[in-house]
């Protein structure tokens, strides 16, 4: 068990999401930075889709009721174990009754904590992810609160062997402030004027305070329309960028509604989801257009790093 002494700002249980139920109106939820969660999982010997904690901006204080290994990847929130600073993206041994806390945010927005054996809340529709709108998954579909006892799964027999191992920085997404995000134009770019698309691709859009796991509302030069017709409500992909009548784009993320009716100017590629997850209100986003094939190559290259890391770990054992 992990006992929650202080919940932090907003911490939820997430895995790689609840795929397969969007046609019933059930959103995917899951880690906003799925690569960081997967990297943390591999460091502690878990499958890459095991559930961990998504920690937002201000970390919780957690007490481990049994010995475990842990790893934190994503935002740097300056983690402290029993009073000692511990490194990020590194497998660390946390003794029984040890306490993990976080000092302050140094970079990024969301840190992912994986523990050996994973967070073992019940599966709901094949996923442990917290789904706030549906009020299910994770801990009753809500953020953690003080006095929660979060169940941990049984660790692998040799879980201590990973202690000290780090996830190479060059294998991580290129996290940076004010990132350039790659998008595939469409499926409804014909609703927008040439100037609108030019503005979208050439000027920065600032993340506003109205931004959460459902989506980020952005502010910048209003994107002008060519077609005034309304769009008929349609299915929404992860990373959809829709533009309501005020011309200010909304970037839709994992807790979005499954369908929606604003024209979609572009859809972000999945490899760059991690960069969005680590961007905060006030940061600027820029967009650059790529083809679906370029998006696919970026996806295969990024997620292929998990296999490269597994390969390195295997060599280490020889």
């Amino acid at each position: 068990m992990i006992e929650v002494l202080k919940p932090g700002l907003f911490t939820t249980v997430q895995d790689l999401g609840r795929w397969g139920y969007q046609s019933y109106g059930v959103g995917i939820a899951g880690a906003l930075d799925p690569f960081a969660l997967s990297a943390a999982n591999l460091l502690v010997g878990n499958p890459e889709n095991a559930a961990g904690l998504e920690i937002t901006v201000q970390g919780p204080t957690l007490k481990f009721h049994r010995e475990t290994t842990l790893a934190i990847v994503g935002a740097d929130l300056d983690p402290i174990l029993d009073g000692q600073s511990i490194p990020n993206r590194t497998c660390v041994l946390a003794p029984s009754a040890s306490t993990l806390s976080f000092k302050a945010r140094k970079s990024g927005v969301r840190a992912y904590l994986a523990v050996s054996g994973g967070i073992d809340v019940p599966l709901v529709m094949e996923s442990r992810s917290t789904y706030l709108l549906g009020k299910f998954g994770g801990l009753d579909g809500r953020a953690i609160k003080a006095q929660d006892l979060i169940p941990m799964g049984d660790p692998p027999a040799n879980y201590r062997k990973g202690v000290g191992r780090s996830f190479p920085e060059e294998f991580l997404p290129p996290y940076r402030k004010n990132p350039i995000l790659r998008v595939v134009l469409g499926p409804f770019d014909e609703f927008f004027s040439q100037e609108g698309i030019r503005d979208f691709l050439s000027t920065p859009y600032t993340i506003t305070a109205q931004s959460d796991r459902m989506g980020y509302r952005l502010q910048g030069i209003p994107i002008t329309r060519r077609k005034k017709e309304e769009l008929i409500t349609c299915g929404l992909a992860n990373g959809t960028i829709q533009v309501p009548p005020n011309g200010q784009p909304i970037l839709l993320l994992v807790d979005r509604q499954t369908i929606g009716g604003y024209p979609v100017i572009a859809t972000m590629i999945h490899a760059d989801l991690s960069l969005v997850a680590q961007s905060a209100p006030g940061d600027e986003l820029r967009f650059s257009a790529v083809s679906p094939d370029e998006g696919r190559e970026a996806y295969i290259r990024l997620w292929g790093n998990l296999d490269r890391f597994k390969g390195l770990s295997f060599l280490r054992k020889l």
């Binding site: 709108l133 469409g186 008929i232 992909a237 992860n238």
Partner: protein, 242 residues
């Protein structure tokens, strides 16, 4: 209007097929037909789909498939062959307690149409509706088209909390909120049926392509169904938790 289906990318992990650009049963049935026909012929890498009014979103795994390969696979099912008969889709009956605290906007809908509450109920319950889409929130079923004297605009500002089971009117459509959520439709009644259940697979009572038929019940019957989970008027398909 109906057009030749168009396939376009929706990012690097999904493609979007548009069958038309309006809400009508013929186009929606083409979406449903595609959804059902392809389900049995999925190849590795084809993921879940989100059917909607006149389009469908198809997810794929970029490790296994490219946009071109996924388009080619989908294209096989877009021939202009006549529609298979989907009219065999089930008609699911839904008991509704209309008006009062359960349907606070029934009087508005009646006034908007210069009609009476009784007439709105009679007309709303008087026909079968095609479920165009299930989405927005878990299990929300949007269906239509409602008779002209039942139509009403959405609320100017959505309610922050609409109770589960609420039956609403949104323009030409009627729909049921399966779980408590924010919502802007005019609420004319509520069903005691549990339309979204985590323990079931599928979790949603309605699926796109189903038909719905409403029938009025009184408060006593509402409470009885709510408590016992059993209906007396036989539905064609019985949902064990309903």
């Amino acid at each position: 209007m109906e057009c030749a289906p168009r396939i376009r990318p929706a990012g690097d992990r999904a493609l979007f097929i548009e069958f038309g650009t309006e809400i009508n049963p013929e186009i929606n049935l083409r979406v449903q037909e595609f959804y059902r026909r392809t389900d049995a012929h999925k190849i590795p890498g084809i993921g879940e789909m989100i059917p909607s009014y006149c389009s469908i979103l198809v997810y794929y795994d970029p490790f296994l498939l490219s946009f071109a390969e996924t388009s080619a696979w989908a294209g096989q099912f877009l021939s202009s062959e006549p529609l298979q008969n989907l009219m065999s889709a089930p008609v699911k009956e839904v008991p509704v307690l209309y008006g009062g605290e359960y349907g606070p906007d029934l009087s508005f809908v009646a006034r908007h149409n210069q009609s009476s509450e009784e007439e709105v109920i009679r007309l709303h319950a008087g026909k079968d509706y095609l479920v165009y889409v299930v989405g927005f929130s878990p299990g929300f079923a949007a269906m239509g088209i409602v008779p002209p004297q039942v139509q009403a605009p959405r609320q100017a500002s959505p309610r922050t909390k609409v109770p589960a089971g609420s039956v609403g009117i949104g323009g030409l459509q009627t729909g049921i909120y399966a779980v408590e959520s924010p919502g802007g439709w005019q609420l004319i009644g509520r069903t005691p049926l549990k339309l979204f259940n985590l323990e079931r697979n599928p979790p949603s009572f309605f699926q796109a392509g189903d038909y719905a038929r409403f029938y009025p019940i009184d408060e006593k019957e509402y409470k009885r169904i709510q408590e016992s989970g059993i209906r007396t008027k036989g539905p064609i398909l019985f949902y064990p938790d309903a």
